[in-house]
Every structure is written in C-alpha cells, then in structure tokens.
Amino acid sequence: MPDRVAIVGVGHTQFRATSPGLSYKELMFEAATKAYADAGIDPRRDIDSFVCCSEDLSEGTGIFDEYVPDQIGAAMRPVHTIAGDGLQGVVAAYMQILTGAFDVVAVEAHSKASNILTPNHVLALAMDPIYVRPLGAHPHIVAGLEMSRYLYESAANREQCAQVVVKNRGNALFNDAAAYGADLDPEEVLQAAAAFAPLSRLDAAAPADGAVVVVLASAARARALDAEAVWVLGAGWCTDSPALDSRQWGTAEYARLAARQAYRLAGISTPSREIDFAEVDDTFSYKELQHLEALNLFRPGEAGPATAEGLTAMDGDLPVNPSGGSLGVGHLGEATGLYRLVEAVRQLRGEAGPHQLPDVEVGLAQSWRGVPTTTGAVVVLGKEPEA
C-alpha cells in the first residue's frame, strides 16, 4: 500500500459557453491564482513540478505545451504536458509524489472549446484515417452506435437516459459555476430532435469554456500546510482498444479496469457500500448509466432502473453528479475530469454550498476522454488518510 497523497488546493473559473473577454492564458491564470490561494502556497517557492493537460488540435497550436508555464507560475520549473484528461494529469502528479522525489505538484487543464470553429472536423481527425474517416460521418455517430448497443445489452431505455439529463441539469441549478442548469422533464428530453438516434440533441453535453487547477501534496507536506486536505485513497486509469473494430461496445471496459486498480489501492471491496457519492462521466446521458455499472456501483442493467427510482438523485442512496455533471456544467474538454475531482473535494470538505450532500466520507471522480476514445480514469477520495 503506497503512502497517501492529498489534494490541498483547488481553483477554477466560471464555466460558460463562451469566454470572450479572456485569452486561454488569462483563464489559466485565474484558476491557478485561486488554487494556490486555496492551498496557501506560492508556486514560485512551493511547487516542485507541474502537469498540464491538453491536446494540440483542441488548441489550434502545433506544440501547445510551449505556452503553458508562465500563467501558472511554472516558468523554468519541471513542467510536462499529459496529452490526456485532467484526471490522467492527477495520476501523473500522484505518481511523482509517490516516488519520494516531489512534495507538491500542481495539475492544470482547461477548455477554450468556443475558439474551435470546426469542432467536429477536428474531432473527426481522431478517427482512424483509413477505415473510418473516409465515410465522412460526424464523430458522434460513435456515441449513437454505442448507445444502441448499451441499451440492447443492458435493457436500459431512452426514458432512463432522459432521467439522467433531467437530474444532472437540475442539479446544476444549484451550482453557480455550471453553464447549463435547466428545469426539464423527461418528456422534453425524449422529444428533443434526434441527433444520432437513439441519441437526441439533449442526450449530449454541450461544450463550455473554463480552467481548473488542483494542487497535490505528500502526506508530510499536506499536514504542514494550513489547508484542508482531502486524501487520494486510490487511482486507476486504463485504455481499451482505440480501434472501433475490436473494442467492447456494450460495456465500458476501460472504466471497469480503471476502477479495479483504484479500488485495489483504496482497499475497497464493495464500492456500492463504501462510496458515498460519485462524479462520473456523463458526456452522453447513457454513459452515466454505463459508467456506473462499469464502476461496480450498480450491477449490469441496474443503473437505468435505479436512476428512474431516484437512487442517484441528490437525496438518493448514491448521489451521482451532484455538481450537475457535464450535461449541467458543460463539457470542459480535458478539464472535465479535473473539475469533477474538484467537486468531490468540495463535497468532502463540506464546501459545496447549495448542492452540498450530508454526511459524505468517501467520493469517486471518474473521467472518459470522449469519442472516439476508450480511455478513462478513476480517483477515489476520502476525508481521512485511511479508507
């Protein structure tokens, strides 16, 4: 069992569909300023290493990692980019601290999705150039296909998926940072225009702009800092086949394997009983259900009925996405998972304000990198260093 690592600071901007008054550097500076204030540290003195999460083509810059250090206090320091989701950045920081060579590591991720004029053309460049792209399909066809397979295998239905949308956009009404809170009923979701049937327009999270910074520290440093620590109990990450032809379609195999690694590190054997709430990826409504089953929080086929019964609502047995999720907050690109981690930290600190859950001790944050990937990460957090 490795030593514990703590989250000692979190900061983020508001999330909105556009952010026209600020450059990406200025967004990052705001999130970093808040996170370092939260941790009570000076990055020029106290942070040993920095991890930024980005993909070049999401930024429109050939080697984007060039442009990250200055606005997060990282110029002339050990800095590296993870071309991945913010939670993958967190595991990179976690490992660095576990080596014993680093005490404090900061992780940054952001979204300037509004600056991409041809987002689906860009996303199509992530599809196989020989066998998939020539078909000319919108990349979200992958989600439509996966949803059809998931509904077929799990016996979940579109109504249950619509209830995920209603719940998450409703939860977002109580999260000031969220971009897309709305008061909907399931019928309105079901009647939304078909996009990639069975997926409707309202089944998909809309993108939003914003930046997130998180500070991690070794146990010794966390105790020395005047910050309220939340502990990383376990972390896991995994990739299934990147190719459409040989991946698992009905189940989220990457999430199952990532959770298995995280639970093993956290010493969790019955996640549905030991985890009090979860922030899971809901880039598409059905993904929340599929992910809950892969995370072993519900048995296969049970996440849909459980959602319909309200078990995943704010006042349910296992609240899921009290933040509003990506459907309610907005999809934050590579910052999506990192913001979920921030939300889990806030809940465990009792600082979630109007969407605070009562009596929570252990929370889970999970990410998926979106279509067409099969990559995801899981971090289990707790109030105390021992699970």
Partner: protein, 162 residues
Amino acid sequence: MGSLEHIERVDELGQWPGEMPVNFLYTVGVAGERFLRELKDRGRFLGSRCPDCQYTYLPPRLYCERCFAELTDWVEVGPRGTVEALSVAHQDLDGEPLAEPETFALIRLDGADGLLLHRIKAPAAEELELGATVEPVFLAKAARKGSILDIQHFRPASSGRR
C-alpha cells in the same frame, strides 16, 4: 479574476483567426495494403487471425493487440455479416441537418470477430434491428480504388443461406 484589469466593453472584445495549414497523406500500412487490394481486385474481405487468442481482426492487423504476435494467418471472412450496433445520423460534420438521415452500423462479418463500420441503405432503414443480416454493395470493379469506399454501403441480405 486574477488580473487587475478586464475588458469592460463588448466593442473591445477581439478574436484572431487561424487554421492548421497542412494537408495529410496517409499510407494504409502493411496490413491495410493487403486488405484493401483484396477488396479492390477481388471484392473479398481478408481478416488476420491470431491463433492463440482465437480472434480474427477485421480490418486486419499486422499484430495482435492482445498478445503482440505477428499475424500471418489471413482468412477470408464475410461478405455477409450481422448488425451489432446501429445509429441514424441527422447531422453532418458542420452540425447542419442532413437532408436525408443516414444509417450507420457496426457489422460483424461472418467468420470475423472485429466489427466494420459502414453505411446501411435499406428501403426501411428505421426498421432495421440489431441482429439483422446485411451484405455489401461494391462499386464496379473498374471504379474501385483500394479504399473502404470501394464498398458503397451494406444492405439487408437477400434471403438465402449465409
């Protein structure tokens, strides 16, 4: 926040346009050459099989992703197959509504384990279900280029033995 000054009037907001100023030319690779030439020249599907993992890749691969063996066992699969997932696209890449919705499917060709993504055209595509049997419609031989688009689309299989 963070900074000491901000833009306070919308007429001071600015954007700067740009693009990725390149084009791409991809080789189809060692396994792709064999697969696409067979498609072009003979209208046949070749998969590559890993005997240890008992898995037949389609499109074929040079290596087994599960055990890293080099795959040298090429097997003919299809042309018929089973629909394993279905989706109807209503938007194009620009997010604009398609005049005619298009049906896409993941198809498991008979004898393969891997799934092929392609278009389905059928008189009543909305009535198609998972598990349906489909068959490819190829371009005329002279028009084929050694591309996945040498298959125009799949369609529900005419009755008869698979």
